[in-house]
């Protein structure tokens, strides 16, 4: 998964493959509003392109099998798991990652709320959690507790017990929760 691999090594040096198939394809992705034209093997996952080819390492890989949510990005506005999404499937689509949430260096209200509530500890689930929460809030401006749980159920967090994360979503949606940290 090094950047060497994603540039060219795999297509040239790697002649001893068992099954020399999988013709690379040319695709265009819009990532955080920037256009990227790249050539990828069909087997390449979206997370590999985002992290290794484009170099946006905010999106985290944890399970490689779609079971934890750490790699969540928005694909055409939907929260999806970039570790089980083929990059070729995203041709022509818009992708948003955690790097797109702050504007001109200013944290978004959601990011601020996460910090206000202590919803971040080790921080590894945070990018995915923020993207799921972003999608949730775009759908429901004042989500109920049940909607928050369904919206964030695909994101594991081992540090917080989720309480502070729920509070952060309640805070940012103006549902009577005030910051606990200053």
């Amino acid at each position: 998964m090094s950047y060497l691999e994603t540039i060219s090594i795999e297509d040239t040096a790697n002649v001893a493959k068992i099954e020399p198939k999988g013709r690379s394809r040319f695709i265009t992705l819009s990532i955080n509003g920037e256009r990227h034209e790249i050539t990828v093997k069909p087997r390449k996952m979206l997370i590999e392109v985002i992290r290794d080819t484009v170099g946006l390492t905010g999106t985290k890989g944890s399970c490689s099998s779609g079971t934890c949510g750490a790699c969540t990005v928005l694909l055409s506005g939907r929260p999806v798991l970039s570790c089980i999404t083929l990059a070729v499937e995203c041709d022509g689509k818009e992708i948003r990652t955690v790097e797109d949430l702050a504007e001109n260096g200013k944290l978004s209200a959601l990011q601020e709320a996460f910090l206000d509530q202590g919803a971040v500890q080790c921080g590894f689930c945070t990018p995915g959690m923020l993207m799921s929460a972003t999608a949730l809030l775009e759908r429901h401006s004042k989500p109920s507790l049940a909607q928050i749980k369904k919206g964030l159920e695909g994101n594991l967090c081992r540090c917080t017990g989720y309480n502070a994360i729920v509070d952060a979503v309640l805070q940012v949606s103006g549902q009577g929760v005030t910051p606990v940290m200053k």
């Binding site: 069909p42 087997r43 779609g66 070729v88 499937e89």
Partner: protein
Amino acid sequence: MILYDFDYERPNTLQEATALLRQTEGKARLLAGGTDLLPNMRVQVLKPTMLISLGAITPRPPQAELDGSIRIDALTRLADLENSEFVRREIPMLAESAHVVGGNQIRQVATLGGNLCQETRCLYLNQEHDYQFTAPCYKRNGDCCYPFPGNKPGTCWSVYMSDTAPALIALSANVDIIGEAGVRTVPAETLFTGNSLEPLWLARTEIISSVVVPPIPTGFGWGYHKSTIRGGLEFAMANIAVALWLENDRKTCAGARIVVGAVSEGPLRALATEKSLVGQVLNADLLWKAADDASNEINPLPHHGFTRNYLNENIRVYLRRTLITAFERAYGMDA
């Protein structure tokens, strides 16, 4: 990361997709949401040489047919199903069964057709490493069964865990299948072979194109339950779909369908129990007895650390509750 290469095609129609399936002689797989297929390819339970993406095909929205049945494009994403006002109003059991699949991100891309065509699961299947097991099991084209070493040779007892399939069967849904010879329509419940090695009666060149739920009878009520340990982001311990419909007196059972999934090679119907309910004036005792009968009729496979004994108990209790809920809905108590 998938550590082998495969080809990729992106046809514009299902007909083109069937043609591609034919050309590749069954070595290709269809890619819809990919949430089941791609993790299985990563651990090499599946190793297709080509993926035929259905991503270029836009599903038609769910719609009512002239006869009152509802047609749902197989490429409909589960999130769109659970969030569709129309589906929630007309066939809430299907919306509910879609609502409890996996986690939110899974449902955003996973499709109804894909959910039906998912692979069976077993603790011993989903763990290919470079070192874990020396010999593949029957499901991996090998020669043994790790959880049930004494069973009949060639038998795989992995379980089929779709959450939507039991609901569709309880709703008497049909599926349209596109193949070389055109479209065929079969009841959803006849899709299942009872053989975990090849759980669906689908030729390698066939594609489920849509699901058709027939008109809901009057006096209809439903109950659905998915048993899990943690309430989400999880496959079922067992899932239960119950449909009851009453005569005009709102007491007498006109029909019943009781389906239990995730505990066998395919969803199981409690046919004898269903039959015994028809014509009966329903009451709590009867429904409780029906739940006991149905759970005795079902013979769950122990799976994922759950014993047969406990699965029986869990199914028995939730059958009671879903039957009562279905009856209450049929009676109009929840209105």
